[in-house]
Assembly symmetry: C2
């Protein structure tokens, strides 16, 4: 990295930028200007943004620079997946039906980030209704490859230094997968830790607001702000000899060699650093969760999108109709109930297993491999839906690459609701892997 | 009832109106006109409506009359609690912040009811954000008394023959309590049976769309329509010797004599008709659910209303700030997690107890007693929050009255997800109590 790049404020993590602003070495205005410059130069290739509010962001930055340095995110620009509402910017949910729609409110997480001094720089591209019909965004590391989805723009914008932080959402694998494909940190919290108010509903049973950043430290900072939660800085030094379970999931046969190699390398490095790594086998009934997940999503989508499907059927994609509406139409009420019960059973089993084996985390793939070539598909949620279904906090770490030089993520999944402890463990693993 | 009243289409149940329309004895236009006449005469005293779309309803009725008789709700007008969105009518959520707000969509349940030929006659009054700051509505049976809340207008409108059906929502007791106070049937389904899309979020953990009607038959019809679920007509004849558990809840000391008398009378009548009635004791840990419920609501409200609390703090009521924001501010993340876990434990216990004792339903108060005097408070959710928290279907039946001649409800609660079977049991009990 040359001097010019190292000095580019757009390359800083949020935590480092926050420290420099606090110390007077950086201003919010300079940081926002640097991000806007980066966006201007790169956006034609990356197409991460649905809307950039340059004027509003610079005005807010000037206002913040004129006042005291207070909130957790004072002066830090962030991106907002366009499935979340913003009162001062369009919110289109990736659908032509809502072109130009202006909600009267901010999504709760956006309002809370702003209340902490964060600057909502713009709306990042989402797939249609945070489902699987792709948006325009390209993988910044290779524009012929998908950035993943549905939080496509958030992952690409953070990876490409447009913003240090971005909000996404995950119903299957929509935070962890694009973060892994773009080589950033992606965090899906425990279910219901962050508010869904002002998020266009995809599947109520699973919708989870998640975060993208370029460090674990930033994930913890951003989480505290958007959740109005106590800021608990990550404490990797307090982690010692963690017990980590390798979980192959029911889909191990779909992993690419690069993912298996990454997991092997991670295990070796973590063990060398003192981790005790054990194998975790899932019971046979977990095999049915894949279908249960799709069935619940379909059952809900058919109903949650009743207005659009009734009044604007021609403007709903064929992808959505095939993958959600058809599945939902074929699903019986009894199957829906059985699927809900299966999820409860799986969560109970997992809670008990983690307690019995005294595990601190599970290690598992973030995706099958590198970001696939092509932009029509955003890849599969194969290695993600399970952790969404189980309500467990999940973080993808970006320390490996595949045969094409694209990132390969590994995923650390924590016990339900133990997000703070999990982020410290993730920070520990991150430090180990960065040094190995 | 004199001849004129008996012939008033506004007095018909939805099912009877539907049969008459089907048979050619009634038109949608005549039914809507009768409802509008009733509203014109009574609304100055009842104040059930935030908005009535007379013109739109008559136009829709004319269009339906000109076509074939198809959907489940063909030609049936219904009211929509103003916490649900409607694309063609204002949606204010009971808050001055949203005066005149026009969402771009219908809530899913509204869209589905319309797709079945239902006519959205207007928006019924809700308390502020479906919480506890009262709206303008009065109890139609005695205007000095509250109609209950938060679905105040829906209950009053159905009780006073403005519409045969109305949609409400329940987070604590906001469907069952007003229905009981106004003397109609109120149904809170199993959690997640009906879509919350287009419902302004109160507390994600508990928000449940519910229904008001003037017969159990209508509840089953309306549920099928708004849920895009199979229409399963109630089958009271198939119910025989049901096992019913009397549940006093941890709050029995708060019941008024009229409620205890109503439950006693109900037990005698149901036993005489063949029911086997047993006592159900809740374990001591259930005592903590009251506080857990309020804590979760407060924790979520502080965050779910971050935008309003940040940008329009002066337009949020003191009631909301005291009952929700202060509770939420005082609640720690650890307490929130513990409260979530307590709910899971209670649901597991209840599932197991119902299975072990082979219970078909629980019988319990709908409210402490008659609707309290005064309009400032909509009463307490004391006898409702538990069933919302436990995700169980609950129906209030209107066969009793108290010392002031106002209705006293009794509540039948069914096993989670067994809504269809539960509605048949309720229909059986309804028939028994009507004849006793």
């Amino acid at each position: 990295m040359n001097m010019q790049l190292r000095d580019d404020p757009a390359r800083l993590t949020a935590s480092e930028a926050r420290r420099r602003i606090d110390g007077g070495a950086l201003t919010a205005t300079r940081l926002v200007a640097a991000c806007l410059e980066r966006i201007e130069r790169r956006e034609p290739d990356v197409l991460a943004w649905e809307h950039v509010d340059a004027k509003g962001a610079l005005e807010t930055a000037a206002r913040l620079d004129a006042g005291p340095t207070t909130g957790l995110l004072h002066g830090i620009p962030f991106g907002v997946k366009d499935i979340l509402d913003t009162f001062d910017q369009p919110s289109t949910y990736g659908s032509p039906i809502y072109r130009g729609h202006r909600p009267p409110w901010d999504a709760a997480t956006v309002a809370l980030a702003r209340a902490q001094g964060g600057i909502a720089l713009g709306k990042t591209v989402t797939t249609e209704f945070a489902n699987r019909h792709a948006g325009k965004t390209r993988n910044p590391l290779d524009p012929a490859h998908t950035p993943g989805g549905s939080s496509s723009g958030s992952a690409a914008a953070v990876a490409d230094f447009h913003v240090p932080l971005a909000i996404g959402t995950q119903t299957g694998g929509s935070v962890v997968r694009p973060a892994a494909y773009c080589g950033v940190y992606g965090y899906k919290p425990s279910f219901r830790l962050l508010s869904n108010t002002g998020v266009r509903t995809n599947t109520e049973q699973f919708d989870t607001v998640g975060l993208m950043a370029r460090s674990v430290e930033d994930v913890a900072l951003f989480k505290a702000a958007v959740g109005e939660l106590p800021f608990v800085p990550v404490a990797p030094d307090e982690v010692s000899a963690p017990r980590i379970g390798i979980c192959c999931t029911p889909h191990w046969d779909q992993t690419e060699p690069a993912t298996r190699d990454a997991l092997d390398a991670a295990v070796r490095a973590l063990e060398a650093a003192g981790a005790r790594v054990v194998n975790v086998s899932l019971p046979a009934f977990f095999d049915a969760l894949d279908r249960a997940h799709k069935l619940i999503c379909g059952f809900e989508s058919l109903r949650n999108y009743a207005d659009e499907l009734t009044r604007w059927p021609d403007q709903v994609s064929e992808d959505f109709k095939r993958e959600r509406v058809e599945v939902g139409t074929a699903a019986s009420l009894a199957e829906f109930r059985d699927a809900l019960r299966l999820g409860e059973r799986a969560r109970r089993w997992m809670d008990a297993m983690i307690a019995e084996q005294a595990l601190d985390a599970l290690l598992t793939p973030s995706a099958a491999g590198e970001a696939p070539e092509g932009l029509a598909s955003t890849g599969q949620a194969t290695f993600n839906y399970l952790w969404t279904h189980l309500h467990m906090p999940a973080v993808t770490l970006p320390h490996f690459t595949g045969p094409r030089g694209l990132p390969v993520g590994i995923q650390l999944v924590g016990p339900r609701y133990a997000d703070d402890r999990h982020l410290s463990l993730v920070a520990w693993a991150d430090r180990v892997l960065a040094a190995s």
